[in-house]
Symmetry: C2
Subunit: 417 residues, 2 copies
């Protein structure tokens, strides 16, 4: 179960009653049936037969395919990427490999991927609410053609469409061409969709415990339901807004396992897209420790004092330890017998103390072990915290009015009829 320690936030840990009241009001508002709050009770209300159908499709993909090409962008990309990086990490992960496409427009990347898939068995999971978003739609055209060339009439059986229940181009194509399809619920926005088939199908196809992931989220939904200050999501929302209102304009999410890097990317979309509007919002940035102590560490210790830092810790599972060396050429025998993970944990304590001394308030989120159940709990925790935090700051967590501006320009420049 996800826990939070805000004792390193100094004065911001005492955010006061008026902040608490804002969070209570935010939680009430969430429960009052606002639009796009379908994610709130999604885990406990998941349709079991639909979930079973997702898992059965995943099994078929695993039997027939070396690679599942996941075509999606934004919330239709980052959730599955984040979860499978943790649960099926490289190097050396076996089974069906997830490869992502339609999350950019690089021709060179597309060319490489076409060559890579040429002599591998693959299926496609195309994920798009509308089916007309430029990047995934273009990628789907390109890779569906390869699929048809390889499998002829059998190609349609290798396409899995995750899309709107009724409307949109991809829904129509699924009907006409006979793709198996799954539903993106109407009341769940892209960045909140990891617990729908958007995330669940690729996660299960990669061989991760998607059922455990969903279960962990359902447990979190229950344990984080209380509208009071014992709720860690309330604490997180309140302390980050207290810091922001006092000039901590940037929040750094520092992960302590390399596999969690894309959890931080997913977190950046969740918080950045929910809060960054009306010329306000905490700027979310990510770090991978200890690597980035040797790159961004200097700035964090002594740069502009507009930073707050959140450590994302998971319980260690590694066996590796520092071996004893008779010659002790590197003088490291004082660490001999210590596990790498023990040193990692000590580094966290040391960094926390150093950064607090340097004027950077530090929070710590502990997700528990890096397994499917904990991850489900963690991502739900972040979803709820984010919605509360955005409401507390006075913006709507569920819209993204700013993402259309460049698209309008682009369509005009490209001469869209």
């Amino acid at each position: 179960m996800t826990t939070i320690d805000i004792s390193g936030a100094g004065k911001y840990a005492e955010f006061g009653e008026s902040m608490e009241k804002r969070a209570f009001a935010a939680h009430e508002r969430l429960e009052s049936g606002e639009p796009f709050t379908g994610w709130l009770h999604l885990p406990s209300r998941a349709d079991e037969s639909e979930t079973r159908r997702v898992f059965e499709a995943a099994d078929r993909i695993r039997q027939s395919s070396d690679v599942l090409l996941v075509i999606g962008i934004g919330g239709s990309y980052l959730g599955a990427r984040a979860v499978t990086d943790v649960l099926c990490p490289p190097p050396g992960n076996s089974g069906t490999q997830l490869v992502f496409a339609g999350n950019g427009l690089s021709g060179a990347y597309t060319d490489r991927l076409l060559r890579y898939l040429e002599d591998r068995d693959f299926s496609i999971n195309v994920i798009s609410k509308s089916g007309t978003t430029t990047e995934p739609a273009a990628a789907f055209r390109i890779f569906e053609r390869l699929l048809e060339r390889k499998y002829g009439a059998g190609a349609a059986k290798r396409v899995y469409a995750t899309t709107d229940a009724e409307k949109g181009a991809l829904r129509s194509m699924a009907r006409e061409r006979g793709y198996e399809s799954f539903v993106i619920p109407d009341d769940v926005g892209g960045r909140y969709s990891v617990l729908t088939p958007v995330g669940l199908l690729p996660i299960a196809a990669a061989g991760a415990d998607a059922a455990g992931f969903l279960k962990g989220a359902a447990e979190a939904e229950l344990s984080l339901g209380a509208n009071d200050m014992s709720n860690p999501a309330h604490k997180y929302a309140c302390v980050r807004q207290a810091m922001y209102e006092d000039g901590k304009k940037i929040e750094l999410l520092a992960v302590w396992e390399p596999t969690l890097r894309y959890v931080a990317e997913w977190w950046k979309q969740l918080f950045g897209e929910s809060e960054g509007k009306e010329h306000k919002g905490i700027f979310p940035a990510s770090l991978e420790y200890t690597a980035d102590l040797h790159s961004m560490g200097q700035y964090i210790q002594q740069g502009e004092r507009t930073l707050a830092e959140t450590f994302l810790w998971c319980e260690p599972t590694g066996k590796a330890e520092v071996p004893f060396d008779e010659n002790d050429g590197d003088g490291l025998n004082w660490l001999a017998g210590k596990k790498a993970d023990e040193i990692n944990r000590t580094a966290l304590e040391a960094v926390k103390r150093a950064h607090i001394d340097g004027g950077v308030p530090c929070l710590e989120i502990n997700m528990g072990p890096p397994d499917a159940r904990s991850l489900g709990g963690l991502l739900y925790f972040f979803e709820l915290s984010c919605a509360l935090s955005a409401y507390v700051s006075g913006v709507c967590p569920f819209d993204q009015p700013g993402v259309e501006a460049y698209k309008k320009n682009m369509f005009k420049m490209l001469g869209k009829p």
Copy 2:
């Protein structure tokens, strides 16, 4: 050759004579023989016989090894990672694979890597000025043991040490154990070391054109030597300081090819560690477009107006184009026949216009084609720009006094004698 277009910076493009003068003084200071400015004329003064020795070692590694395990952190990691991600990109790159270790303390990652290397032929390039930095030293102990178990007396021939010329633990170990070794020059700091054997050996071992990379840097050294405002490094340094002094506290480097993601990570270390001190410095953050338009795009368009953005473009090389589809189910036929790269370029123009309209000044750096020569030029351009920019802002670009704070705490907590 790297070029810069600052016309999207609006009023900041007119940074004025006093800013120019500060840049001229900075450039003079650089050329006056300050400590740690060895990188400035490194490309043109590289010792040819040493470079040849590096390339010969790389050839031996390529013949003997499926994997080169590169052990290093910070500047001993990010340069090689950045360059080889561009020049030997996944998926489907063949030849000797670079795998990185010693850039963190995750036990689980170390365990996975030990299993992965078990049945693969590998060599180690351990990179450390001192040989005692905790992460790489611990990793080297662990993986050298595996090497010895696999290759017995032949293990030492598979270790390549890149370290100080005379001093330090790793230099002593190389002497005693007979590792082939290469020198990290005294007057080149970690984040400026990609053009020394620190970067060159792994780059060449991965099969990239390391000679072309060095040549491109030498050409840049020549073309960027002029201490006047025709110099694009001057323009970049001046405009970013003009923006910073007016409240643009965060610079986003947005790359338009997924392979350039670690160039942005390298850039973050270079600028963040050079400028982030004395409670000032532009906060460097990175983006991968178009993917991150669907995650951070909302914040950039409408969040806090403290952002400046720099696009890093490379000339496209892809062939992929949007195919025509008779049924036009996705309504995308208006794009049929257009190359993905053409749409990518149009997206850049569209985003630039949208973000400028939204109050975010936008610079554009064009590195030319994504080849070795252009990359050498680009990284040198960034090194020079960064040194100028830091001097202009009144801080020393070559120290990192803040990175010791957490280490002191850590050694104390771990009971270092």
